[in-house]
């Protein structure tokens, strides 16, 4: 019993270290530029202001970036849920030529850095006339090897008897997938959905190269360009921008965290 208190102390200090930068961000977003530059810095805002958020939503075009990020993330998530569960089922439960080769190929691409594909991808998408467009932002991410792996692992755990029962009842193979097996994967779909949404929301390199005008920026692109461009010294605006980027995923993660940690346990991947 005696040694538990200091274990909790270390644990709490760790939590403080993790949380402090986030608190610093939220509190900073309500400070004036003058207060942000004060030495020594203030912890609590002395004269709290929402000016930074006003600027974000009027001078800067953050509502548009927010809509862009949301739209891209939703479509990418829908695509992954649909296509990854389809191929995941085929890889786990159907017998066809080349199945193992296909699986190995998909797994091998998990290792490929985004840097390797983005230049030819940029050439391809540009030549297809899709640069600076929503399809250009979305199409390359509609499927992911991670999603295929996660769905395959989950389908492997479902009993084959269900499929056989469906066949006896005269269902077609696609009917068995859509009506019998797919509804059973709801936990895996929840995990894949939340992880894909978070990944898309935070994605940076591809939107950075393919979104060329402000009206197509996603939130991370806008924040990064603001922070390195002419607004680099506008600390309050950047803090408020970081809040707008981070807060939705924090809320979403806290609401669905069970699915996230379970997904990591299923696949060992994040």
């Amino acid at each position: 019993m005696r040694r538990t208190w200091w274990i909790y102390l270390i644990g709490v200090l760790g939590l403080v270290a993790v949380a402090a930068p986030f608190l610093w961000m939220v509190l900073g977003s309500f400070k004036t530029q003058g207060e942000l530059l004060r030495v020594p810095p203030t912890w609590w805002p002395q004269d709290a202001t929402t000016q930074n958020y006003n600027d974000l939503f009027s001078k800067a075009n953050f509502p548009r970036y927010f809509v862009n990020s949301t739209l891209v993330a939703l479509v990418v998530t829908a695509g992954n849920l649909t296509f990854c569960s389809m191929i995941g089922y085929a890889l786990a439960k159907l017998r066809f030529k080349g199945r193992n080769a296909l699986f190995v190929l998909v797994m091998a691409t998990l290792m490929i850095p985004g840097m390797v594909t983005f230049v030819p991808l940029f050439v391809l998408v540009t030549n297809a006339g899709l640069a600076n467009s929503y399809p250009g932002l979305i199409l390359p991410f509609l499927v992911s090897p991670f999603g295929v792996f996660l769905m395959r692992q989950f389908f492997l755990g479902l009993p084959d008897d269900l499929m056989d029962a469906g066949r006896v009842d005269g269902s077609g193979e696609l009917g068995i997938f859509a009506r019998i097996m797919l509804p059973l994967t709801r936990p895996a779909l929840a995990t894949l959905g939340i992880l894909t949404f978070l990944g898309s929301w935070n994605n940076f390199l591809w939107p950075l190269v393919i979104a060329q005008t402000e009206d197509k920026y996603t939130l991370p692109v806008a924040l990064a360009l603001y922070s390195t461009g002419q607004n680099a010294q506008n600390y309050g605006l950047l803090m408020a921008g970081a809040v707008v980027v981070v807060l939705p995923v924090l809320v979403m993660f806290l609401a669905f965290q069970r699915h996230v940690t379970k997904g990591i346990a299923i696949t060992g991947l994040k």
Binding site: L91, L223, L238, K270
Partner: protein
């Protein structure tokens, strides 16, 4: 191109992304037939159908017919993935390799076939480029210090939660994991303010104990350690979750046996628990390593590679070459990174595989 941010790294990124070992660590309780790669043919179903057809002798062709239907269904189900995969992953991977042997530049964008081959010219140019060598050194620095540090912190946190913290365990777990799900760009913006010289959080806290902190991001010495500290802070939660699952899979009896033999708690951890965690350590070191080798957003937002190129990474320099329009050179650099990632992953598997 899969998103690094899920992965790391990514942000895991990202991203951590490596597949091979995952099947083994993933489902300890999975049925053997499942791990072997799927179901065998079920005689019962074939029997049911042949009864309906009224002819026992037709069972074999009928089963073949069922397999054909499975094949047809499988093709329908994999088709969208295969098309998207060919167009946006496999194609670009090969395209990138091809481009790395050409002098393709931005102005050739509309006519990608009018460029000239230059053999290994781009690769030679990359290795002769002093900034690229600097970037390679920085990336190695980031990985060699960052990965072990991340794993040690993650393992310490996992042991703390598994052995010590019973009440509120979920709260601590979620808390430590929080930074992993947030955008690296936003984190980097916040940390720029945390690390600011006079009005920053870190130097203020250091000031309480009488330490006069440097201007972290403007110092050639301190900029890189600052980026590493931020990466550890952001990513350790990801490995921690995996370690925690690994620790919880070790039966209590292992520790009890050590206790009976009179081993101290450190000895029990070092000689009983650690060897059992070997596959988990392998897995987390591979995924973390792959993510860290690609680090990009941190210098992009926090230092722009400076001061004096002391934090420029291979990924960031590749991106810069792309920005200059040197597509051939950029793809060659990306492929060098790719080969390094593959080789290091292979070495990690060899080193950490069961002795």
């Amino acid at each position: 191109m899969s998103s690094k941010e899920t992965a790391r790294p990514p942000g895991l990124r990202p991203g951590g992304r490596a597949g091979e070992e995952a099947g083994a660590t993933a489902e300890p309780g999975a049925r053997p037939e499942a791990l072997a790669g799927g179901p065998g043919p079920r005689p019962s179903a074939g029997a049911g159908r042949s009864r309906a057809a009224g002819s026992g002798g037709a069972a074999a062709p009928r089963r073949a017919g069922r397999l054909d239907r499975q094949t047809a269904a499988a093709w329908v189900l994999i088709l969208p993935f295969v098309l998207l995969f060919l167009a946006f992953t496999a194609g670009p991977v090969l395209g990138s390799l091809g481009m790395s042997f050409t002098d393709i530049r931005q102005r050739d964008l509309r006519t990608p076939f009018s460029v000239n081959g230059v053999g290994f010219g781009n690769y030679v140019k990359a290795f002769q480029d002093e900034t690229f060598r600097k970037a390679a050194f920085n990336t190695a620095y980031f990985v060699v210090i960052g990965v072990p540090l991340t794993l040690v912190v993650a393992l310490a946190a996992a042991v703390l939660l598994d052995r010590g913290v019973k009440r509120f365990q979920a709260l601590f777990k979620v808390g430590y994991y929080l930074p992993v799900v947030t955008s690296i760009v936003a984190i980097a913006v916040i940390w720029r303010f945390v690390l600011a010289p006079d009005s920053g959080l870190l130097n203020t806290v250091l000031g309480w104990v009488g330490i006069d902190g440097p201007n972290w991001l403007a110092s050639k010495t301190w900029a890189m350690p600052s980026l590493i500290a931020m990466a550890v802070w952001r990513n350790f939660g990801s490995a921690m979750i995996i370690f925690l699952a690994g620790l919880q899979g070790i039966p209590q009896s292992v520790e009890e046996a050590g206790q009976i033999d009179g081993a101290s708690s450190w000895q029990r951890f070092r000689y009983l628990i650690m060897p059992l965690l070997r596959p988990t350590i392998l897995f987390t070191s591979v995924t973390t390593g792959i993510g860290y080798l690609q680090f990009f957003e941190e210098p992009f937002v926090m230092t722009q590679g400076g001061p004096l190129d002391s934090t420029i990474s291979v990924s960031m320099y590749t991106y810069n070459q792309f920005g200059f329009g040197n597509y051939g050179l950029a793809t060659a650099m990306a492929y060098i990174l790719f080969v390094v990632i593959a080789v290091i992953t292979f070495i990690q598997f060899r080193l950490l595989r069961e002795k």
